[in-house]
Amino acid sequence: MSRPRLINRDEASAPLERELLVRIHDLMVKTRALEERLIQMYKQGHGYFWIGGPGEEAFNVPLGLLMKRGQGLDYDYLHAHYRQSGTMLALGEEPIGALRQMKNTATDPYSGGRNFAGHFSKREWNIAPVSSPIEVQYSIAPGTAMAQKRHGGDGITIVTGGDAGTAEGDFATCLVWSSRPANPLPILIIVTNNKWGISTSADGQHGETRISDRGRAFNIRSKTINGNDPIESYRELKEAMDYVRTERKPFLMEALVSRLYGHSSASGANFVANEVDPIKEFEAKLEKDGVLTRQQMDELRGRYTEELAAAARQVRDEPQPAPETIWNHIYAEKK
């Protein structure tokens, strides 16, 4: 699935259709406004813990836009990690759900007040529950991919996680199970590389030059991309997903991304000035190319900030789950 190589880099990232660019930008800003609201809620005591993806919007939004959304084997499965609000919003999710999970209300659509922020789950869209033990999703994802391979069609499985977590055996599990000659799987294996664990930098831990190089040993097609550029992300994801959809084989993608508010509330959740801000960069480009004006973009930001502040006020008054509900849903029952 090679595409024509363009010599000039600027040309290579020539703009997608204007409408798509505006949509991506809109969702990136919406995601950022959501995350900043979540951080504020945490800091004001309206939540116990924050973890999320400010800095990863340029990659996560295109991913959500490109997914085939729906329930069951004909649609894409996402085994996400905890930094993917951008993917959820791009799929069409309303941001208030994330606020409800932060406030652990009974109305939290992902866990009913049981799980951390950023731990999305939505069976209706094949979004597998995000789990706190990192990387386990890499062991689980081959299962949905196996079922999809047998089923036929063009639904694929997507799994994402962080760079530090690739040291876990589950990452190797994913490479091994996805590339078995007996049954190669339609799975897009993604690593978002922000160069950090919590406080441990990648320099001290990674012997491999690129994480994507690990795919080579398994004959898995692989690539490292700039996940801070939404246009490159969109193109590369589309190409990789097309390959997985049609060839029914795995693809390993490493996306280089930023971590703009540190690891989580555990590390303070304060803005980190020395990381690339993908929204800032994208906006400069959109302005330069005459796609959007500074004023339009500022207005958009202001509007989302206000909307989320209003949503947070609404969530504040919603009930907490009742204590006796701890006994609900231990087992599924036949109806």
């Binding site: 789950s121 597998a128 689980i140 079922a147 091994v176 849903h329 087992y331």
Partner: protein, 351 residues
Amino acid sequence: MANMAQAVRMALHYAEENLGVMDIFGEDVGAPLGGVFTATQGLKNAWNSPLDERGIIGAAIGLAMAGQRPVAEIQFADYIFNTIDLLKIAGNTHWSSNGDWNLPMVVKTPVGSGIRGSIYHSHSFDATATHIPGWKIVMPSNPLDAYGLMISACQELNPVMFLEPKALLRVKGEERIPGEPEDERQLSKMIDAPLGDRTAWKPQWPALEPYAVPIGKGKVVREGTQVTAVSYGRTLPMCAKAADTLREQGVSVEVIDLRTLWPYDWDLVKGSIEKTGRVLFVNEDTEVTNFGEHLVRRSVEELFYKLLAPPRLLAGKFVPGIGLSDNLEMASVPQLGDITDALRKLASEEP
């Protein structure tokens, strides 16, 4: 009569024909071996996975998420411990997603002593398994129950841990599996793979009938009035034997096969303790933080005033492993003599 390995195989055959089981997998589970205990021999949906326990449990979770009904095997329970966090996830997914996702998956694994397996082929898993909420845990003690419990497991909406007492996998049953031919040599000819080249071999399955042992229901295997013995798995037939011996000596023992460890049949246990006033819980997992300790606690808390003697637990010794030497294994886990003695003592204990 079929042995337990054959019974499990027949249940899985029934499940792949009738219950939508499309994946039966694990290390060496597919052809040519059909499992190290032959419990998956000849099954059309059995396949060999990579040698990766985390991958096996993970794939089973993923398959279940995708609406399949996987049956995954961990070759020996001794090797399931490096998957504990995945087992926890399988157990908590329904709860943590507030009822949105459920995982209809079965994990089967041979447990316990009895084959001189030394320290890494003799572990029990019942105490650990019962410590992971969200699972149903079954452990048959005879082939017919193995057949019926496996069929129930393959109909469940929830994760089921199917513990196979390895000491009993080769023991023939006393009751026929519905559909099993009368002559056991004929059965063997039909469903046991020949030694040597098996490439052309295909099993000839008997016309099996549905038969389900409901999950959560125990069974009284000996009726008695003086003392209750509650057990499961390898130690259950020993308890029955001990009861037979003691009956000849004038001691009446009621023996309960728990069959399901979670959710367990407390009504049955409670009723029996109320009748006899004395209870001995028997299993072979190490005795500290043993599942039997939970049963002792519950007996004391709920039935204190009905008891004629303290509830007791006879379990494996709290030592790091089971040594290979015959003497070491026999000394580490309850044997027939230990059970008979413990029951006799308890029966004569007066308040």
